[in-house]
Subunit: 330 residues, 2 copies
């Protein structure tokens, strides 16, 4: 690497979500120098795109005004992405279809742009500046409404042939299990996501009028959020703890499968549910030890992401830094 690491270089890192878009200027060490967040007009594809382009252009100007040299733009977005083509095929929470996002942003910003699925980017972010810094073989799972992920093997992110690798949430764990958002049964996402946690909590509370959750929320499923379940579990509520037990069991089984498949040194858990990580971790580690093949699972470290809410922008930054090092600019 011949790049001058003493210059005030940075990349612009953009985390594109259905609720908000976060932009950050990030240096080569993963330090966040500058930040901007705007709401996502996610239902209006044209407005969503023009807001995004304005956000990036404004970010480039702000950086230059502050004496920072912007070297590239990295974009992390939810959805199926053809990384090499810079094309967003579809996104679960944004009314976009077949958007050539990389080239549109490159034209507007006059900079090389690298586009990545948000979960793959977050895995790259853990390697760049998070829990897996210096770890060459690890599996990353992001757990929120859905479950996504990414794997590093031999120090490189696995993108796959088309760039859609890492759909760990759609690993079937029980062919007769509950329906998943993808239309299939018994996916890890249907059994161990935030959505599954709430569903299990409602089911357990509705059978247990003495539980705290029932007394708080009655039988109204809409009143049960991830936060109410976490809070009730923190206070020892049996319905909420039961829901965490169920989710931890299936998350543990999913991790066992991934350890048998990848033989990682480490498994990193991120996303919104990682904030309730301590409610899950004991159970997950127990299930992995009990249900895994001993000589394959016993030395694997399972930890919670160090990046929290910055996983998206740090991931986008990692994608951009990796991109300008490894590929010709586009």
């Amino acid at each position: 690497m011949t790049r001058d690491t003493t210059s005030r270089g940075c990349v612009l890192a953009l985390d594109v979500g259905g609720t908000k878009m976060s932009l950050a200027a990030v240096d080569r060490q993963g330090g966040i120098l500058h930040r901007n967040v705007i709401a996502s007009p996610a239902r209006d594809p044209e407005k969503m795109l023009s807001s995004l382009l304005n956000l990036v252009s404004g970010g480039v100007e702000s950086c230059r005004a502050a004496g920072l040299e912007v070297e590239a733009v990295g974009i992390a977005a939810a959805g199926f992405i053809l990384q090499q083509d810079g094309l967003l095929l579809e996104s679960p929470n944004i009314a976009w279809s077949m958007v050539p996002l990389r080239d549109l942003v490159a034209k507007a910003a006059g900079l090389p742009v690298f586009l990545e699925n948000d979960a793959t980017a977050a895995a790259a972010g853990e390697h760049f500046a998070g829990a897996a810094r210096g770890v060459n073989d690890f599996v990353y799972l992001t757990m929120g409404t859905g479950i996504g992920g990414g794997a590093f093997t031999g120090g490189r992110i696995n993108r796959g042939y088309r760039g859609t690798a890492g759909e760990f949430g759609h690993m079937t764990l029980d062919p007769t299990g509950p329906m998943c958002g993808c239309g299939r049964r018994g996916c890890l996402e249907a059994l161990a996501s935030g959505t599954a946690l709430r569903r299990d909590a409602v089911r357990l509370a509705s059978r247990d009028p003495g539980s705290l959750l029932y007394r708080q929320c009655g039988i109204d499923p809409a009143a049960v959020t991830g936060e109410t379940v976490s809070d009730a579990a923190e206070r020892g509520d049996r319905a909420a703890l039961g829901a965490f037990d169920n989710v931890g069991y299936y998350l543990g089984l999913g991790i066992v499968n991934l350890v048998h498949i990848f033989d990682p040194e480490m498994v990193v858990l991120g996303g919104g549910m990682a904030g309730s990580g301590h409610l899950l971790m004991d159970n997950v580690r127990r299930v992995v030890a009990e249900r895994g093949i001993s000589c394959l699972v016993r030395d694997v470290t399972i930890i919670i992401s160090a990046l929290g809410g910055d996983a998206g922008v740090i991931g986008a930054a990692a994608t951009a830094w990796e991109g300008i090092e490894n590929e010709p600019a586009k």
Copy 2:
């Protein structure tokens, strides 16, 4: 690559199994120049080792007598192997435990030696000289008494942190499913291996006295072999076809999981059951199309290994050629 490919160089490739050991001299194009097969004294660890060392020494002498220059030895063996340490931890069918196989062979042969798990080696063999030649992202499954495998991502074999990656047979597909040889429930191996095929065939035949399998084998499970089930299925027997349907369903589900995880261009099926591949393939392809996420599975090619019974030695040869190119000799 500066190696002179016009010289008469070869590697010695050794496939170590519980029944026999096969040795072959293999050139850089995957051509087999010379071959020797001996029985494995698998229950006597000392005798097994001395037979192996004699086989290799004899192979080196035969090659030299024929004017071939032996550049390295590649060994593919069943079991858990620490590839970087050249250590065989344990093997399912050989009375070996903690054998430093690489260094023992290197000392006896005076050559660099590279040791690999047999399924990982077979995946490397498919890339070297089989169905996946020129394919950088593929998943390989070997189906026999058990199920093993290996994955290539970005042109490299995934070995994992300790070298035990690719245990696809021990992916849980149904936590309440039948017991697996590993002591856990509902592994792919317990649902879709040759062992599972025979178990399902016995179960279906025992309920169906009109079936060909029942008339041939009665209720004696020992009389039902992989061959009898295949033969009966070829003749249209409903019990045997039902067993192939069950196995194909779970194999299809396992492949869906691996496609969602790796995003491969191709899935290659090898091992003893691949000989009955046509009885499985229609069902497997249908299950993958129906049970996978359409935009992730629709362009994936699923094919049968081109190497047949040579998968072991070609895999060992691929391991040796890769080893002398990428690593300092050991």
